[in-house]
């Protein structure tokens, strides 16, 4: 078993950590996991003198952290650090600061002290990045310019299990500092090291790289073996002794609680003695048979619970898909599916993953558990062996314990079930239904389960129990058949398969292969399809295809199932902006800004809302606010730029678009915005260049092609323009503007018949667009069919009861009439006829004519 390099240096604090570990189990950060690993690996090392003093404090700190009591955690950690001044305590304090959302505190604290251990340096680097001190962060990670810089391999060896996260962070720094190639390399390494990590892949896609999902989301043979090996490798021998300590240390209050709980919960069958004895039993595990008599009822209760859980979980796998979204890492513990992937193994697995190759992230754990669910779904025999029973039991504490500890990070429905089940359990403690199964059980395991259950219901540090559980589990685990290992592997494989699919879809979207992206994402299994993440990206794909009604449908579904989701809502708001649905847009804006005032998306939505109301000044303020809350949010710059274009502050608009490109040079909307401005300034060459740049990023956009066609026409390259427009129509036959511009170019080139035909087709697509009739009228005018021309003009007027009429009218007056001065008489007649039709609107025009 590979030990973490730290494990030897830290041994003094090891024991404290141990406790920490135990309490910290459900928490979800890298460091914690790492810590846990450390603990595991170092369990055998002898506790130092200080241990006794520190351990409870550290445990308390971690417990406070795990219960989001940051004030308490910080306070205690400060005390501890004042007392001990060890790097471990420093790290703990910094972690408290960081987790309480004050990275600058952690940064200054760590900065003021020498940081030698990788975990501390990682945290410092993380803080640096958070505070945008990129150079410093880089220096912390790979050494300064003066020293020899560390290569990625050095990092991997130095940071060991957390190397994948370190590399990901480093890649982030590189990308922010415009060293894209190096950044991409880092992300690549990171995802190879830990294929469970999504963000490196995502970042690679954003960089315009095309990582092969099949390569990325693949467990190397080493990783597979690590999955396979774990149970034995956790060295059962080491654990008991250590656990013994912890159990002893833990007991005092816990047992009291336990007792109380037991009394409450189990029909009085369990006595306080029992719980105490239980602890003993866990320590002495094999001999606890004597307790059996008492525990039977518990066991049966547990098994009952397990039974209840099972079918439910089976259903919930289909029914409660939201929890399985790959972006919500912590759901993993939830899936009620008790059977195949025994949580113990999970833990062991993750532990070994940590120690061996990959990063020990909470994520990985959750992924695995997710995989479990996937796996179980695939029906790989959960009932195969007696094992499942044990598993189900162990899972019970998990489920019951996790909601309380973890709940914030989990989404709804699955959450409910475990709770209910635990309640069920407490009430239905004594049914003997499961006797047969019970017989197969090993008592020691059973007992701890029971205990965990009580505890977890009580929210106390169940991790401790879990730990003991682990250990107990291990004993039986020695005799466990290989099937478990296979289950593990199958589970991991199925996650990987899922990730590969998602990766393919995401990559297609990032390369603006939207139709393919939609296909891939739509073919996901329903429980994944119906998640906010997937639907948001499908909506995004429709959006990029300019199929706004489809996009709106998908996004409103997202709103329905995950009303708390902000990611992608800016796209939704732009969709609504395009569709001019002001009511929906303002409702969305209100909801999001009420919900989260610190996310740029909410302010973008608000800005779009006001932009649609043509209150551009307010919209500008909101977009500026979006930038303020997140200067790295490229789309906010773009939207601000568009707003400045609308208020004709072109210089500021240019600056905004350039900023957007600075933040993300693959943000084609900003390139488009630049082209648009140059077009307005009649710098057609520049406009074409920028439009083409945008097109190179998003080659499938018919709107972009249409603009390029218009620019080419303006550059007198009419043939090229027609060709471009034909391409655009080929990509999206439904785009009316392409046809319209093609018609107008044909018209300008005196190809009236062709133009007319084009317009007739166009009329089928958008029968209510007055512009079409306007252009038809112009064509007829050219062809000399005056009455047809007039008929179309008046249709154009009628179809335009709102604001645009002035312009059409002016266009008729200015562009149309002066054109044929020979026909002036006709024209004045025309306009008088039209005046009859709509005299008020044409009144001034007429008088102008007279003048």
């Amino acid at each position: 078993m590979v030990r973490h390099p730290l494990s030897f240096t830290l041994n003094k604090s090891q024991d404290k950590l141990l406790k920490t570990l135990l309490t910290a189990r459900p928490a979800d950060t890298v460091k914690e996991q790492k810590k846990r690993t450390d603990d595991r690996t170092r369990q055998t090392e002898s506790p130092g003198g200080m241990t006794v003093l520190q351990e409870p404090v550290q445990a308390a700190v971690w417990q406070a952290l795990n219960h989001y009591a940051y004030l308490d955690a910080v306070f205690l950690a400060e005390r501890l650090y004042a007392e001990v001044r060890s790097e471990e305590a420093l790290y703990l304090l910094a972690t408290c600061y960081y987790r309480s959302g004050k990275p600058y505190k952690a940064y200054r604290l760590l900065k003021a002290h020498s940081c030698s251990t990788p975990q501390v340096r990682f945290l410092l680097a993380k803080c640096c990045v958070e505070l945008s001190k990129l150079a410093e962060g880089e220096q912390v990670l790979i050494g300064g310019v003066l020293n020899k810089q560390k290569s990625q391999d050095d990092i991997i060896t130095e940071f060991g299990d957390s190397a994948s996260f370190t590399l990901s962070l480093l890649g982030h720094i590189y990308c922010k500092t415009d060293r894209v190639a190096k950044g991409a390399e880092c992300f690549q390494r990171s995802s190879t090291l830990n294929p469970f990590l999504w963000s490196p892949f995502q970042n690679l896609c954003h960089l315009g790289e095309k990582p092969d999902p099949d390569q990325v989301f693949r467990l190397s043979s080493l990783q597979i073996s690590s999955i396979a090996l774990p149970p034995p490798s956790v060295s059962p021998a080491q654990n008991p002794s250590h656990r013994l300590d912890t159990a002893l240390m833990e007991t005092p209050q816990d047992t009291l609680e336990l007792n109380r709980l037991n009394l409450e919960s189990s029909n009085g069958k369990l006595t306080s003695d029992m719980s105490v004895s239980y602890i003993d039993s866990s320590l002495i595990s094999p001999e606890t048979g004597s307790l059996l008599g008492n525990t039977v009822s518990m066991a049966s209760a547990g098994s009952l619970l397990a039974k209840q859980n099972k079918p439910k979980s089976g259903r919930s796998l289909l029914g409660g898909p939201a929890a399985l979204s790959p972006l919500t890492p912590s759901f993993g513990i939830l899936p009620l599916d008790p059977s195949p992937g025994d949580p113990t193994y999970l833990q062991n697995y993750s532990a070994t993953m940590e120690t061996q190759t990959t990063g020990p992230n909470k994520k990985s754990v959750s992924r695995i558990s997710q995989s479990k669910s996937v796996f179980s779904q695939s029906g790989n025999s959960r009932d195969v062996l007696p094992i499942p029973f044990n598993q189900s039991q162990t899972s019970a504490p998990h489920t019951s314990g996790s909601p309380q500890v973890l709940s914030p990070s989990m989404s709804g429905p699955p959450n409910v079930q475990p709770r209910r089940s635990s309640r069920l359990f407490t009430s239905a403690s004594s049914t003997a239904k499961e006797n047969s199964k019970k017989l197969k059980m090993k008592f020691p395991t059973k007992i701890p389960n029971r205990k965990t259950k009580c505890k977890s219901t009580k929210t106390s540090n169940s991790s401790n129990l879990n730990e003991s559980l682990d250990i107990l589990r291990l004993d039986p685990g020695l005799s466990l058949p290989d099937t478990k290992i296979q289950h593990q592997r199958a589970a991991a494989d199925s996650v990987m398969a899922l990730l590969r699919e998602l990766g393919r879809g995401y990559q297609a979207l990032c390369s603006y292969n939207c139709k393919e992206a939609i296909n891939i994402l739509t073919s996901l299994p329903p429980q994944h399809y119906n998640t906010g993440w997937v639907l948001t990206h499908i909506g995004r794909a429709y959006f990029e295809l300019a199929e706004y009604t489809q996009a709106e449908r998908v996004f409103s579904e997202v709103r329905r199932i995950e009303s708390f989701r902000v990611e992608g809502m800016e796209i939704y708001s732009t969709t609504l902006w395009h569709l001019q649905k002001d009511v929906a847009l303002s409702a969305l804006s209100k909801d999001l800004t009420d919900m989260d005032k610190n996310c740029p998306e909410a302010w973008c939505v608000a800005g779009n809302c006001f932009s649609l109301q043509r209150e551009h000044d307010i919209a500008i303020k909101f977009f500026q606010r979006a930038i303020q809350v997140d200067p790295g949010f490229a789309y906010a710059y773009t939207l601000l730029g568009h707003e400045f274009v609308l208020t004709e502050e072109l210089d500021r608009a240019l600056a905004c678009f350039r900023n957007a490109i600075r933040v993300n040079n693959r943000h084609y909307n900003a390139w488009y915005g630049l082209g648009m401005i140059y077009y307005k300034q009649e710098k057609f060459n520049l406009a074409e260049i920028h439009f083409k740049k945008a097109l190179s990023i998003n080659p499938q956009s018919s709107v972009l092609l249409c603009h390029i066609g218009v620019v080419q026409h303006a550059l007198k390259k009419s043939d090229a323009a027609l060709e471009t427009l034909n391409r655009a129509i080929g990509i999206d036959p439904k785009n009316p503007l392409c046809k319209f511009h093609r018609a107008s170019i044909l018209f300008a080139n005196d190809k009236y018949k062709a133009a007319l035909q084009e317009l007739e087709e166009l009329k089928q697509i958008v029968p209510k667009e007055s512009l079409v009739y306007f252009l038809i009228g112009k064509v007829y005018k050219k062809l000399g069919h005056t009455h047809l021309a007039l008929m179309n003009f008046s249709w154009a007027m009628d179809l335009d009861p709102k604001g645009a009429n002035n312009q059409i009218k002016e266009a008729i007056d200015k562009r149309y009439l002066p054109e044929d001065e020979a026909a002036e008489v006709d024209d004045s007649q025309d306009s008088s006829i039209m005046t009859d039709a709509d005299d008020t609107q044409l009144h001034t025009a007429e008088s102008d004519d007279v003048l």
Partner: protein, 226 residues
Amino acid sequence: MADGENVAFLPYQFEPESDPEDAAEEPRELRPQQEVSERRMATPSKTPPGADPKQLERTGTVREIGSQAVWSLSSCKPGFGVDQLRDDNLETYWQSDGSQPHLVNIQFRRRTTVKMLCIYADYKSDESYTPSKISVRVGNNFHNLQEIRQLEMVEPSGWIHISLINQRTNEPISTFMIQIAVLANHQNGRDTHMRQIKVYTPVEESSIGKFPRCTTVDFMMYRTIR
């Protein structure tokens, strides 16, 4: 008497009200007004209010650009100055504090296209402070201002639209500076009240190509990338 002038100007005063939202109302406003101005010598009737400029803004054909300009006044009572004139609140007002003519100067940083001005006056509240004769002058600076509009109002109560469209070219004027001069008040009042002044520029087509605005959502959503 500037009545002859009035006849010439009044149509322009209301022309911008070809506000699509109020298209139906338009004839009512246009025609009576013309008659009114002809009959004015006999029985002066009240100047009818124009549409709320906010509605115009919503149509997207015009845009308020007063915020881009530097505003100054010939005189004002403390606390009744530019802020009150521009605060979008019809309850507050600018009150001059000096000799006539009272001037409002609107200076832009660059040559700016202006389609119309909207002034809010309320005879019911302001009585003898209500302006009755207003002149609009444009130019590059204070020294070359030229009057382009002069209008008289009779007990106005509401928005008064002053079109700045050049009669000959039928184009909105393009200018660095606008000066609004209050030449006379009702009942020979000395100081004047103005509650709001808004300056509108026509909105340029955001669509590409030299075409007028499109009208249907189906069409419009392909117009631009955002």
